[in-house]
Amino acid sequence: MSYPVRLSLIVLFVLILVSACAPAPTPAPTAAPPTAAPKPTEATKPTSAPVATTAPTAAPKPTEVSKVGGVLTSPANDPDTLDLHQTSNPDSYVVFGLIYETLVTEAPDGSYVGLLAESYDISADNKTITFKLRKDVKYTDGSPFNAEAVKFTFERLLRVGAKSPIQSTIKNIEAMETPDEFTFKMTMKSPYAPIFHDLATSYAGILSPAAVKAANDNIGRAAIGTGPYTLKSWQTGQLIVLERNANYKNPLKHFDNKGAPYIQERRFKIIPEYATQLAALEAGEIDYLGLQSQDVAKYTKDARFKAFDSLTTGLTYLGFDTKKPPFDNPKVRQALAYAVNKNEIIQVVFENTLAKATCCPLPPSIQGYDEKLKQFELAYDPEKSKKALDDLGYKVGANKMRTTPDGKPFQPAIYTTTSNTHGKVSTLLQAQFQAVGVDMQVKQMESGALLALTPKAEHDLYLNGYSWNEPDMFSLFLSCERVQASNRVLYCNQDLEKLIVAGRTTLDQTKRMQIYADAQKITMQEAPWQPLYMTVSKIVVSAKFQGIKTDRTGGLLWHDAYFAK
C-alpha cells in the first residue's frame, strides 16, 4: 500500500474518533445568546475588565451612572440546567434566581410581599388567592408579563416538573383563572399554609410563554425572565456569565435602588474543590467564598475582604432507623442521644464559628423555633446514657464495648455522605459513642447510594442535614407518607401526623406556631432525630463591593451593591 493511502487512513481514523464526539446535527436550543464554540486557547481572561455590552435601551438615571459596572465572580459547582421546573440543584437555583422573578418574595422581616404581584388577597375559606399583577413588567425578550404567563408557567410545572420540589404544591391547586390581563386567581383543594413560602422560592419563577415556545420548550440554557440579570453565556463546566438587565425596575421597599442592579456582570465559575476555590480567592480569580472553619480566622481579618455571617435554614441531625430493631424502641434512641456532645462537635469541627448547636428540630433560622422547648432536649449526659444502656440489657463486655441483650456485639452503623464535614462529625460521634461503650461503624457513601439505601432501612443511624425554609419541613422529613422516600428515619407517629396536617392547613400564625411547638416536643421526646447543629456560613466578599445588604438570616442581598472602582 502506498504512502498517501496509509496516511489518509490514519487521518480517517482520527476523524472517526473526533466525529464520534461532535455535536449531533439536530438543532441545538438556540434562544440562548450564542456562545462561541469552546476555544480554550483563545478565550479572554476570566477576570478581565467588563466586556462591552449592548447599549441599554433606557438610559439609567444620572445618579446611578457612576455606580454601574464591575464583575462579581462566585464559585459554583456544576449547575445542571436553568430550566427551573426540572431541577432541585442548589447551584442552578442561585443562577436562575437572578434571571426569573416570582409573584411574591420574602421581605427582611420574614413577611411575604409582592414582587411580580402588586398585591394579593386571600379568601375567607383560605382556599382562594387573587393576585393583582404589576402592569409595567416586560421580559428581556420584549414580550409582556401578564396573568396568562403565570398560568402558563404553573401548567408547565405540572406537566414537566416531576423533579421540582414544589410540584406537589401546584398540584394542590384546583383551578387557575385569569379574570383580566393582570389578575391571577388560584383556588386550592385545601388550605395550604406554606403556599407563600413555596411561591416565593425561585422554583416558582414566572416564565415568558413566548420565549418558551421559541426555545421549543428547551429552556435549560435559554432562560428568559423578568429578573435583574440575563443569561449572556454558559461555557459548559467552566463559566456562566449573567449580564445586568438595564431595563429592570425594582418594586421592593427594602432596596434603595429602584432600577437595574449596579453590578454589570455576575459570573459563576465552576470550581468543584474547596482547596482550589480558596486558592482562586487568594489569587483574585473569584470575589466571593463561603469559608471552611480553618480559614475563618485568617480571612475575616484580611482587609481585602468583608465577612458576613449567614444562617442556613435547616440543620444536621443524627437520625435513627425507627423501623429497625432495636432502634424502633424510643428508649434505645434516647440512650444513644444522651451520648452526643454537640458542643464538642461545634468546637472541633466548626471551630466554634461555623455552626451553632441546636436543641430542637426547627433551628433559629426557621419560623417556629421556640427557646422554651430547650427543656425537652436530650442534652449530653454520658452517665445517663450508660445507665439507660445498662438498664436495657446492653452490658459492657470484655473489650469495654457493649453487647446486645442476647450477647452479640452491639455495632450500629451510621450512614452518611462522603462530605468532609459529615466525615468529621461521624468520626467525632464514633469517639463519643465509644466513651459510653458503643462501637459505632461509619459508612460514608456517595449520595446516590445513600438516597437509595435509606428507604430500604439498611442503616441503623443516619447523619445528614435538611435544608428547608418552612416549619412544614416536618411533612417532608418526618411524616408517614414520606416513609419510602424523604423520611430517612422511616418515622411514623399518628399523633405527629395529625399535627403535621394541622400545621399545613392552619393559616392563623399563632395557632400554627403552637402546633409546631407540639410537633417539636413529640419529636424531641420520641427521638427519631437528635438535632445536632445549624451551620453558619462565613462568607467573605472582596472589599471592592459596597452597599451589600443582608436579610433575616444573614443572606446577602445584592441589589444595592456596587463595585467601587
Binding site: C21, A162, P165, A283, E285, A485
Partner: protein
C-alpha cells in the same frame, strides 16, 4: 493492509457491544437509579415513581437495553442526560475539545521529556547521569499525581503567583494540569526509551556504523533513535486511550471542564445515558489508538507484516 484494517474494525464491533452491555449491567447493579437521585432530598414516593416512568426505568431490564440499542443504531443517538436534559453527544462535545487539548499536551510533554531523558541516560549508560536520570524517572512514577497537583497549586499559584489556579481560558491554565497528567507517563517513557536505546545501540548495524567511523551524534540520531522509538509509539497509543477517561482527579482539582469529570459525575448522578456515552467514547478512543499504533508500527518496523 486494507484487509487487516477492515478485520480489526469488524472485531471492534463486538468489543463495543460488550462494553456497552457491561456498562448497562453495572448501572443496574449500582444502588440508586436516576429517579432517586433526581428526586433528591425532598422526594416523595409519588415523585420517584413518576420520574421512573418518565425515564422508562419501570420497564423490564432487557427492554431498557433494547431501547438503548434501538436509539443508538436507528437514530444514532445516545439519548438525553437525565440531569441536564441535553443530548449526551452535546454534553460530550462541549467538553471533548478540552480533554483532547489536555491529553495532547500531556502526551507531547511526556514524550519529549521522556525520550530526551531516556536518550541522555542511555548515552551515559552506567555513569552518574544515567543513575540520576533514572532515579528521577522512578520518583516521577511513584508520586501520587493529585498530591503533586496540590503542591503545585500551593507553590506556583499561592506563593509565587505565577500561574492561574482554575479555568481553561488561557495557555497558562494548561501548565499545571499538563504536568500533573504527564509526569507519570514521562517517567514511563524515559525508562522505556533508555532500555530500547541500549538494546538498539548494542546491535550489529549500530556497531557497524560506529566502526565506519561515523560521529557518535550521527550514530545515535540517524541509526539508533529511529528504531528505539518503536516501543514509545505503543506507549503513546495506550496512554491516549487511558488519559481520556483517567484524568478525572486532575480535572476536578484544577476545575478543568473535561470528559473525565463528566464521566465520574455522571456515575454519582446515576446519569445512565451520559455514563454510556463517556465510556463508549473512551472505548472507541482506546480501540482507535490501538489500531493506529499497530499501523504506525508496521510503518516503522518493516519486518512486521499484517495479514
Amino acid at each position: 493492509m486494507t484487509r487487516y484494517i477492515i478485520q480489526r474494525l469488524l472485531l471492534a464491533i463486538p468489543v463495543l457491544f460488550g462494553v456497552s452491555f457491561g456498562v448497562f449491567l453495572m448501572a443496574q447493579l449500582v444502588p440508586g437509579d436516576p429517579a432517586t437521585v433526581l428526586a433528591g432530598d425532598t422526594a416523595s414516593p409519588q415523585m420517584i415513581a413518576a420520574l421512573r416512568q418518565e425515564l422508562g426505568l419501570d420497564q423490564p431490564i432487557p427492554v431498557q437495553y433494547l431501547r438503548f440499542l434501538e436509539r443508538l443504531i436507528l437514530h444514532g443517538s445516545l439519548g438525553n442526560s437525565t440531569r441536564t436534559h441535553r443530548e449526551v453527544l452535546v454534553e460530550i462535545a462541549d467538553r471533548f475539545p478540552y480533554t483532547l487539548l489536555l491529553t495532547l499536551s500531556a502526551v507531547i510533554l511526556s514524550t519529549v521529556v521522556g525520550v530526551l531523558m531516556g536518550i541522555f541516560a542511555a548515552i551515559n549508560h552506567g555513569r552518574a547521569g544515567d543513575f540520576v536520570t533514572m532515579m528521577l524517572a522512578v520518583i516521577g512514577l511513584s508520586v501520587p499525581s493529585f498530591w503533586l497537583a496540590l503542591l503545585m497549586i500551593m507553590l506556583f499559584a499561592l506563593n509565587l503567583h505565577w500561574l492561574p489556579v482554575t479555568g481553561a481560558a488561557s495557555w497558562q491554565n494548561l501548565i499545571m494540569p499538563t504536568i500533573t497528567l504527564g509526569l507519570h507517563s514521562a517517567s514511563v517513557k524515559a525508562r522505556v526509551a533508555r532500555a530500547s536505546m541500549l538494546e538498539v545501540m548494542g546491535q550489529e548495524y549500530v556497531r557497524t556504523a560506529r566502526a565506519k567511523g561515523l560521529r557518535e551524534q550521527t550514530v545515535i540520531v540517524g541509526h539508533a533513535l529511529k528504531n528505539a522509538l518503536i516501543p514509545i509509539v505503543t506507549l503513546i497509543g495506550l496512554q491516549f486511550g487511558g488519559l481520556l477517561g483517567g484524568a478525572f482527579i486532575t480535572e476536578t482539582i484544577f476545575g478543568w471542564p473535561g470528559v473525565g469529570r463528566l464521566a465520574v459525575q455522571s456515575i454519582f448522578n446515576r446519569d445512565f445515558p451520559v455514563i454510556q456515552g463517556t465510556v463508549l467514547l473512551v472505548a472507541v478512543a482506546y480501540l482507535a489508538s490501538n489500531l493506529i499504533v499497530d499501523i504506525v508500527y508496521g510503518w516503522l518496523d518493516p519486518r512486521i507484516r499484517y495479514n
